[in-house]
């Protein structure tokens, strides 16, 4: 699995490269649109991370070219153009994710990890997802834990499914707002926390071992804690 990074700002490019290394991904870096398009003609990266305001054009042109040539490449835009209109434009052109600068490096890593997992899921999309004793059946839209059925509302199921598709990886609040509720702005209230709290009441509270973890100030991870993982082995 390879990543193409298209970013003219050296510091931001280094941040993305560092995140790619942490995730164990091979990468190639370009700083202009022309060089990126030339690279894409010869290569087929799994993931592309592109800035928009490049010296010789808009990174969205590379997105469009990619979508015309290869529909399966996952694309994330990283840009200072962060208004909802800009984000919508990016998604309409074919981007799979859109991260606004300035970004939290944790957020960057979380979103890159999510893309990596999505790329893996493209080839191996399980009908049944299992996290410890929690079982999610995708098509049947059922959830069981310790063989007990858990009734979730449609939105709670989507929330859990997204967390499960990114199990073991940090999922930020903005990722949840975008992918579960389709909102490309940040509400002022703690809506995500409230919904996570409700989900937690159903899938964790009745059971001994919690699997939905909160990372303070960052987001959530669906996994066992290290202690619980060691205990339950």
């Amino acid at each position: 699995m390879t990543i193409l990074i298209v970013e003219d700002d050296a510091e931001t490019r280094m941040d993305i490269e560092a995140a790619a290394e942490e995730l164990g991904l091979a990468y190639s870096s370009m700083s202009t649109l022309a060089s990126a398009l030339a690279f894409l003609e010869e290569n087929n990266p799994t993931i592309v991370i592109a800035d928009r305001m490049l010296p010789d054009g808009d990174g969205l042109d590379a997105v469009e070219a990619l979508r015309d040539a290869n529909a399966s490449t996952l694309i994330m835009i990283v840009s200072a153009l962060g208004r909802s209109q800009n984000r919508i434009e990016g998604f309409k052109k074919g981007a799979d994710d859109y991260l606004t600068k300035p970004f939290d490096p944790v957020e960057l890593r979380a979103r890159m990890a999510s893309l990596k997992r999505r790329a893996e899921l493209v080839h191996n999309r399980d009908e049944v997802l299992t996290i410890f004793d929690l079982e999610i059946r995708r098509k049947a839209r059922t959830v069981h834990r310790n063989q007990q059925h858990i009734a979730l509302s449609p939105k709670e199921f989507e929330l859990l499914l997204y967390l499960a598709d990114n199990q073991g990886q940090l999922v930020t609040r903005s990722m949840l707002l975008e992918n579960v509720w389709g909102l490309h702005f940040n509400p002022q209230t703690n809506v995500v926390d409230v919904h996570i709290g409700r989900l937690r009441q159903k899938i964790d509270a009745p059971f001994d071992v919690p699997i939905l973890q909160t990372i303070r100030g960052k987001g959530y991870i669906l996994e066992l804690t290290k202690n619980d993982a060691a205990r339950t082995v």
Binding site: A80, R83, P102, P187, V191, V194
Partner: protein, 458 residues
């Protein structure tokens, strides 16, 4: 099918009417002149002929006295098969001496000069004549008269012909007027259509140029140039905003990265320092949120009439989604939602902007509602509009709220102790304006709310 545009306010109707009226007037005037002239000429010729007839008989009388005159009358009467020409000779005592009528016409005087008379003919019809009368030497009465029926018939035929021609000419001129006016009005309508679409936000509209070099082509060129200028200015403003965003965000990005590095290097064993790092991080986030909100307001206002990204959206469906999102938040705060909505309510707009607009209002209600209160969401159709009212229980009336609510960075007295920068409602206003929605605030005793009036999509 060509639809004939009959409309009091239509310039096309006025032009066609003018064509028709002018044509009618001209043809009526012309016809009248011709008929009058023809009638006069016919009358003149009849008089000349009559005079000649009279003179012929008078010459006979001069040459051969009464006997010659009587013989001449008998010969003439024998030749004539009808009574288009009548003549009579009376004795001194009024008895008939000759002619082709039995009695002197009652409405003809003895010394008549071209008098119009009516006489019953042999076949019983009343005929019109023009007659001359004269008393001959010796006291004999003598008259001649010619029928004007043929002349009258000619004039009558001419009148009929004139009426027919006038009618045909009127219809033709109406048709020609319609065709010519329609060409002109079509060009004006095309320009009007572009102006309407530009006013609605479709800045890409341009007037199609006609091939003919005339004033309309010049007008179209000028309008297109003006629209190019407006679009270009719009693009410059957008580019400026984007550059501003980029130039401000890039250094802030570095600050966030530094904070992250500090955070990881400091670790959890220095909680005081960690707290400071967290605070700085939050301040950077807050700065960015404020910047984002201001930028969103500015660019939304700038975009104003640009509706190229708009689409038909079900506002009811959108509100449904937001209720799923916010109801749990309300429950956490012991607030209940009361909702009344129709099945659908389609408006023309941009989905994310509308989500943000309504989300801001609901969050405002959640923030400022009194404990245990109710947030009411009421949607209903009102003619061609969809009314949206979102209101909450409040703890009293807010002074000057109408003036400050939609003003950036202004906050009501009840907001001072709550988080926020006074940008939520200004953004609501900017988005509403962009969508041609009217937005207003209302306060009624213990209720506070915001109402939108949204034109329904056609």
């Amino acid at each position: 099918m060509i639809k004939f545009p009959w409309n009091r306010k239509s310039a096309l109707s006025a032009m066609i009417l003018t064509f028709v009226a002018l044509s009618l007037l001209l043809s009526a005037a012309l016809s009248f002149t011709i008929i009058k002239s023809t009638s006069a000429q016919l009358e003149s010729r009849t008089k000349i002929a009559l005079k000649a007839d009279q003179q012929g008989f008078l010459d006979l009388y001069d040459q051969r006295r009464l006997i010659g005159l009587r013989e001449g009358m008998e010969r003439r009467a024998a030749i004539l098969s009808d009574q288009t020409f009548i003549f009579m000779l009376l004795n001194r005592d009024g008895t008939r001496l000759g002619g082709n009528i039995e009695s002197w016409p009652t409405d003809l005087s003895r010394n008549a000069t071209f008098e119009n008379i009516e006489l019953k003919n042999r076949d019983g019809r009343i005929g019109s004549y023009i007659g001359l009368g004269q008393e001959l030497r010796g006291g004999f009465g003598f008259m001649v008269a010619r029928s004007t029926d043929a002349n009258d018939q000619v004039v009558a035929n001419q009148i009929l012909l004139a009426l027919a021609l006038t009618s045909i000419l009127t219809v033709i001129s109406g048709g020609v007027g319609f065709v010519m006016s329609r060409r002109i009005i079509r060009q004006i309508n095309a320009i009007n259509s572009v102006a309407r679409n530009v006013e609605r936000g479709f800045l890409n509209e341009r007037v199609s140029l006609i091939r003919q070099e005339n004033e309309f082509r010049d007008l179209a060129i000028n309008i297109n140039q003006m629209l190019e200028k407006i679009s270009s200015n719009q693009l410059s403003m957008n580019t400026l905003s984007e550059n501003l965003a980029h130039e401000l965000r890039t250094p802030l990005n570095r600050v966030k990265k530094t904070i992250y590095q500090l955070s990881t290097e400091v670790g959890l064993d220095q909680p005081a320092v960690q707290k400071l790092v967290d605070t700085v991080g939050q301040d950077v986030d807050a700065t960015m949120q404020t910047f984002d909100a201001v930028l969103e307001i500015v660019t939304t206002n700038q975009s104003g009439p640009d509706k190229t990204r708009f689409e038909t959206i079900d506002l009811v469906g959108l509100l449904d989604e937001l209720l799923v999102l916010f109801e749990p938040v309300g429950e956490e705060r012991k607030l209940s939602f009361s909702v009344r909505m129709p099945a659908h309510g389609y408006v023309f707009g941009e989905r994310q902007l509308l989500l943000q607009m309504i989300s801001n209002v609901i969050e405002n209600a959640l923030k400022f509602s009194v404990d245990g209160g109710t947030i009411s969401i009421d949607l209903y159709k009102d003619g061609a509009n969809l009314k949206v009212r979102i209101e909450n229980d409040s703890d009293g009336l807010l002074d000057d709220i109408d003036e400050i609510a939609f003003t950036q960075f202004q906050r009501g007295a009840n907001a001072q102790e709550k988080a926020g920068y006074g940008l939520g409602l200004p953004l609501v206003k900017a988005i509403a304006t962009r969508h041609d929605f009217e937005v207003s605030i209302f306060q009624e005793q213990s209720r506070f709310g915001i109402e939108f009036c949204c034109p329904l999509s056609k």
